[in-house]
Symmetry: C2
Subunit: 582 residues, 2 copies
């Protein structure tokens, strides 16, 4: 038996108990006649004490030869610690060691195994197995496990069945690039790894498995941006015999359950807004509503004066930044530079200081008087002390710019609190999206997404205004889930394909087996998928997903620890009926 | 709202309630003035009734036009049924329909959606989404889900953390063939899909995550035998700071938990036998111990008489088949033919009938007297009425032949009861396995498996007799799990590589990153993996895994429903830096 207790378990009530501990050497303090060793495992750290008087011959000497990250096993007696350490749960005791075994030695690790390490990202990834010993990474992985268990228990209790769908499927030309797998047994043919189990979950609905979920790996061979992985995990769900409202209720319930069980937070407010409203109020389809700064549209009150910039603009829109009226001229100039950066792209910014005495000071005082500015303050809901920031131009772009500014100001003001959670449904996404490149409409979600029945008549005349029964779940400014009600009526599906520019043959070639299945009694159905990596990171109060993934890949899609991908044998290529084409 | 209740929910207490049901049409019985429709969903079947007197205009006519598998929604009143159907839980009621909507029509399905279908395997696989509507398949998938939930809850409660390991990893020349994935971003290089997360779980142990598990897909590009899938699911587990005993206890606990929670069975007996004992007693390293018929070795009592066949044999061994003394001469001849089939391969069989009066009648009466045969009966534990079947020859082969006979007789006698569960640990597997082809020893489990400390000294002299700290969990004659204690000492590992015929360079090339990791403080560790598909099938009392997999592949590795694998575009190949080599 390697241990009677873990290194995080011993307390005052264990004093005088004989114990056996195993773990890694965190730290050795050697005073010659006395040695203290901190031993660490997954559960914590316990201080060991060795001294000339009480420790048997040889044992103290072994302790003195220990290096960082050596694996040891000790037998000893729990004693009260003289100088308590209130920072760790085991801080009131120490173990007086009688016997020590070095289970394994360790080379000096390439970085410190501490909460704050001296190792850079590359080194940490190469030695990920050492990085995982560090609390921040270890705790993130344990946290991920807990979220997974809660998701499964909630959905299982709601009658959902986890069904495993295949990983070796068929490549489809739609959407992102597939990873493919050459088949040895089927010469010249390839499997594809799933980008999502979308078609399989719809087939399960046709199969009558009316509440399906799966926590499942998905694969996209896309050029990687920061914080995106070629393989990622999804909570994939689908329900049959449901309307949108039923789906929203179930997954609102899941979100509440997770926040309650994982974070101890009762969510009182779970608002729903439409896509249009999200764009008008926040310039963003995934608004962070932990703070205000809602957009105030100023066309009515700011146009038709002598300020040409505004008069020419499609949209004049502003936000009131709380407390920022105290910004100096220099600070404001810097802010104007910020909105003019290419990443934001505004041509300029008009500002109004709402002074504490109720007066205003703006950058456009020669065009607008106090009464005018008072109306601006009303439209942006500005209070005394606020700074109104106003952008103008083409509506969509201006909204996006102001959204960037809103997020930036919230960040600066500390309004994006990691321990505050504000979920939100965004509903009624547009069904179609105009693609400049191909000059035609594409399905915003996917071609099986159902339009709102009352909007079907607009498909011919105003396709861009047709709303879908599609919804996103947003948490703290991040889209954590999205889905839709699917089309189950074959006439409507045919109409959709027509509007997406598919001929009947093309539709059949691409979606044949699903369309076949739909001829045998497809029930009304819909669902959604959560990005599990992102969800876990946000619940964990983190911005990036990387430490919530045990073995992530870098931005070139490489695993630098195992050095993959890698070359394979000629023999192997031959068996797979392929050769390199470099 | 599509339904107020499911089709399996309504009972006597719902009588007079207004309800809405949705589901598929199972059956229509049309008597002209009266129509009964069975409507079915995941939860059951409810009888609907329509009649001229009570059903509104048009509704009866719609019911008359319904076809099998149409999707309908009905509103109606629950009424007491005149002729009750005791076979279904809803059999005391029916719903008098007021309103019907056809949600979707269906073509006539290619096979009947009944417990016993008229569809053959191929048709069922092609239309798997219809097959899943059938109770046997649907219930198998739901059963699988339940087992998964119980596995996760048990391990989670035991402190195990589910960690997702990557699917895009590195190809290794060891073991079975890998499926590979060409990398677009890393020209000429390939990922491999994992055959198991073996190295990653060992890295997690180095990383201090001392209790890991994962229910995970694994991939092997092997020529498929019946009931083997190219992608399969494993319950993968690993623990650090444990000895074999700790691991056995945890997974004995898991097995007991599953049998209790899933089957309601308390396992009183969970025996452990060694590999050697299993081979001697059952001729098999995964014996079915739901029944006896243990081997009796007869060398001592059957050799040194005048029967040359036995005298020349390395092993003479028999079993007592209960109650089979009543076999006719013809039946026994057929049995002898059976053991002589090439699949079994025995040259002949000697038999002894143990008559009810205590006398014996054997096929070798001219060589053996009653006293001799009495000793055979003692050695095989035969009772009056049993038939002793005796094989002889080279020990290993003869044991395998007798094992086949033992299983066959158990099958014929109905001793392999689907609702009886007899788990068993088989311990102390040989470390090495002689490979005729390469004329050298191979690791039986994998090269990181630890030999028994007391056997290390035999590595040089009797490598074939070195036992490993390796164990299999056997349930009803199936290996459902297997694992080992791993080597964590680098000197022992070097010794092992030497004995497996690796040079230092070869070992480094193949297992480099794991060996690197082991230099930084690898703890003692070990683990095991369960075949989840098989485990679920056995718990479900089935012989084959196929119906416990939602979308299985056929023996050519094809998914005939989606028609995968398939050709991909030239363009796609080009991007992946490969071309076909047909």
């Amino acid at each position: 038996m390697y241990r009677s207790h873990t290194c995080g378990e011993l307390r005052k009530e264990h004093i005088n108990k004989e114990v056996t501990l195993s773990g890694w050497v965190q730290k050795v303090r050697d005073k010659g006649f006395m040695v203290w060793v901190d031993v660490r495992d997954r559960y914590g750290i316990t201080q060991l004490i060795f001294d000339e008087e009480r420790t048997p011959n040889g044992v103290l000497e072994t302790a003195q030869r220990l290096g960082r990250e050596f694996v040891i096993q000790v037998d000893g007696t729990v004693i009260e610690r003289e100088s308590k350490n209130a920072n760790i749960p085991t801080g009131t005791i120490e173990v007086l060691v009688k016997n020590i075994t070095v289970l394994n030695e360790s080379k000096t690790p390439p970085f410190t195994i501490e909460n704050e390490t001296d190792g850079g990202d590359d080194l940490r990834m190469k030695y990920r197995y050492l990085d995982i010993r560090r609390n921040p990474v270890k705790n993130s992985l344990i946290f991920r496990h807990k979220v997974g268990i809660e998701v499964r228990n909630y959905l299982s209790n709601e009658g959902f069945i986890e069904v495993e769908t295949p990983y070796l499927i068929k490549s489809t030309p739609e959407g992102a690039r597939d990873f493919v797998v050459p088949s040895r047994m089927n010469e010249g043919q390839f499997y594809a790894l799933p980008q999502s189990p979308q078609t399989f979950k719809q087939l399960l609905m046709v199969g009558g498995m009316d509440k399906y979920f799966q926590i499942v790996k998905c694969f996209r061979d896309e050029d990687l941006r920061a914080d995106r992985q070629p393989e990622f995990t999804q909570i994939d769900c689908e329900m049959a015999f449901v309307e949108q409202e039923d789906i929203l209720n179930v997954f609102e319930g899941l979100t509440r359950h997770l926040l309650k069980e994982i974070k101890g937070i009762d969510i009182t407010n779970f608002p729903r807004i439409t896509y249009d409203e999200a764009m008008r109020k926040y310039g963003n389809d995934k608004p962070d509503i932990r703070f205000g700064m809602e957009f105030g549209e100023l066309n009515e009150v700011a146009q038709h004066k002598d300020f040409k910039v505004f008069n020419d603009a499609e949209l004049v829109v502003g936000i009131a930044v709380p407390g920022a009226a105290s910004y100096t001229r220099k600070e404001i100039d810097k802010l104007i530079d910020w909105v003019k950066r290419p990443q934001v792209g505004a041509l300029g910014m008009v500002y109004v200081k709402c002074n504490e005495d109720g007066s205003f000071k703006s950058s456009v005082d020669k065009f607008y008087n106090e009464d005018d500015l008072k109306k601006w303050a009303e439209a942006t809901n500005a209070k005394a002390g606020d700074l109104i920031c106003v952008l103008s131009g083409v509506a969509n772009k201006t909204r996006a710019q102001l959204s960037a500014l809103r997020m930036e100001m919230a960040e600066r003001l500390g309004l994006r609190k990691a321990d505050e959670f504000a979920p939100l449904w965004v509903l009624d996404f547009p069904l179609l999206e105009w693609d400049e490149e191909t000059a035609c409409y594409h399905a915003m979600h996917h071609p099986f997404t159902s339009p709102k029945p009352e909007d079907v008549k607009l498909l011919d005349t105003e396709p861009g205004n047709v709303r879908a029964n599609a919804y996103d779940l947003v948490l703290n400014g991040n889209e954590i889930g999205g889905g839709s009600i699917r089309i189950h009526d074959k006439d409507l599906q045919a109409l959709m394909f027509k509007h997406l520019g598919f001929t009947e043959e093309e539709a059949k070639a691409q979606f044949g087996f699903l369309m076949d299945a739909f001829q045998y009694g497809a029930p009304p159905h819909g669902g959604l998928a959560f990005g599990f990596d992102r969800l876990v990171a946000i619940l964990g109060g983190q911005e990036t997903i990387r430490d919530f993934i045990a073995f992530p890949k870098n931005n070139s899609g490489r695993d630098v620890m195992i050095d993959a991908p890698a070359k394979i044998d000629e023999e192997q290529l031959k068996e797979l009926h392929i050769k390199l084409n470099l």
